[in-house]
Amino acid sequence: MKLQTRAFIRLAFVNLLLGLSAFLLAAAAEPLGLDARLAALRYPAMHFLTVGWLTQLIVGVAIWLFPLPPQSGAVWATPSGWIGMGLLNGGLVLRLLGEVGPAFGGSAWAGLALMLSALAQAIAAWLFVALLWPRLRPPRPRPPAAS
C-alpha cells in the first residue's frame, strides 16, 4: 500500500471519528441540556461522514486497487492526489467553521468560509476524477497461449 493510499484511508478514519463525534454533540445538545448552538454541527457532521469518510475512503482504495498503467506518463497523478486531499479536508474544516460560525458570533466571515469550502471541494472532486480516470481502463488483451 503506497503512502498516498495510506494517507487517504487514515484521513478517512479521522473524518469518521470527527463526523460521529459531531453528530453526537448535535444530537445530545438538547436532551443533555448542552449548548443548543451545537445543533449547528448537524450538516458538517453529515459531510464529514459522506465526503470525508466515504468518498475519501473510496478514492484511497481505488488508487490502490487500480494502479496506473505502466508508462502512462501521468506524472501529475500523485501531486494532484495530494492537492485534492488537502483541498477536500480543508474544505470540510471550512464548512464546519462556516456552519457553526453564525451561532457563535462569526457571521461576518462564515459566508466567506462556506464559499471557499465550496470552491475547495469542487476542485478536489475534479482532481479526483482526473486521478481515477486513467486507472479505470479496459482490460489488456491477453497474449496468445503458447502452443
Binding site: T55, G111, M115, A118, Q121, A122, A125, W126, V129, W133
Partner: protein, 154 residues
C-alpha cells in the same frame, strides 16, 4: 479492470462525482451569500447525483471488476443486461438531478427517476448474485492488487 461494463460504470460514477460536487458547490456558494437563492434547489440534485450516481454506481462497477467470474469463465447468460442496467441508472440519475427544477412535475419526475434506478439495481443484483462466491478460501486471488502473487504458505 477486468471488464468493459465495469470501466463504463466506474468512469460514469467518477463523472457524477465531479458533477455532484460542482452542484453542491453552487448551492453552498449561494448559502454563503454569493449567488442567487434559486441555486439552493441544487441541494436535492447533488444528493441524488452523489448518492446514486457516484457512490452506488462506483460500488457496483468495482463489484463487476473484482467479483469472481462464473466457473465456465463467462459472466453468465444475461451478461448483456448489464448495459441495460447501466443505461437505466444513468438516465435515472440525470432525471433525478433535474427533478427539482421542473416545478409542479418535480415529484412525478423524482418518482420516475427512482423507479429507473430501482430497476437498474435489481438487474445489477441479479447479475452479481451468482458471482458472490468463494474461489480460494485462503487467498483473495481475484483482487487486482493480489494477482500474480503467490498464496502464503499454509
Amino acid at each position: 479492470m477486468r471488464s468493459i461494463p465495469s470501466v463504463f460504470l466506474t468512469r460514469a460514477a467518477t463523472l457524477h462525482l465531479g458533477l455532484g460536487f460542482t452542484l453542491a458547490a453552487l448551492a453552498l456558494w449561494a448559502k454563503g451569500g454569493g449567488g442567487s437563492s434559486s441555486l439552493l434547489l441544487l441541494r436535492e440534485s447533488h444528493l441524488h447525483t452523489l448518492l446514486v450516481g457516484w457512490l452506488i454506481q462506483f460500488a457496483v462497477g468495482v463489484g463487476f471488476s473484482i467479483f469472481p467470474r462464473l466457473p465456465d469463465g463467462s459472466a453468465g447468460r444475461w451478461a448483456k443486461l448489464v448495459w441495460v442496467a447501466a443505461g437505466l441508472i444513468n438516465i435515472g440519475v440525470i432525471l433525478g438531478t433535474l427533478a427539482p427544477f421542473v416545478g409542479a412535475q418535480a415529484g412525478l419526475l423524482a418518482a420516475l427517476a427512482t423507479l429507473l434506478e430501482l430497476a437498474a439495481l435489481a438487474l445489477f443484483i441479479a447479475l452479481l448474485w451468482p458471482r458472490i462466491r468463494t474461489v480460494n478460501p485462503t487467498w483473495p486471488t481475484n483482487l487486482p492488487v493480489a494477482r500474480g502473487r503467490q498464496p502464503p504458505p499454509p
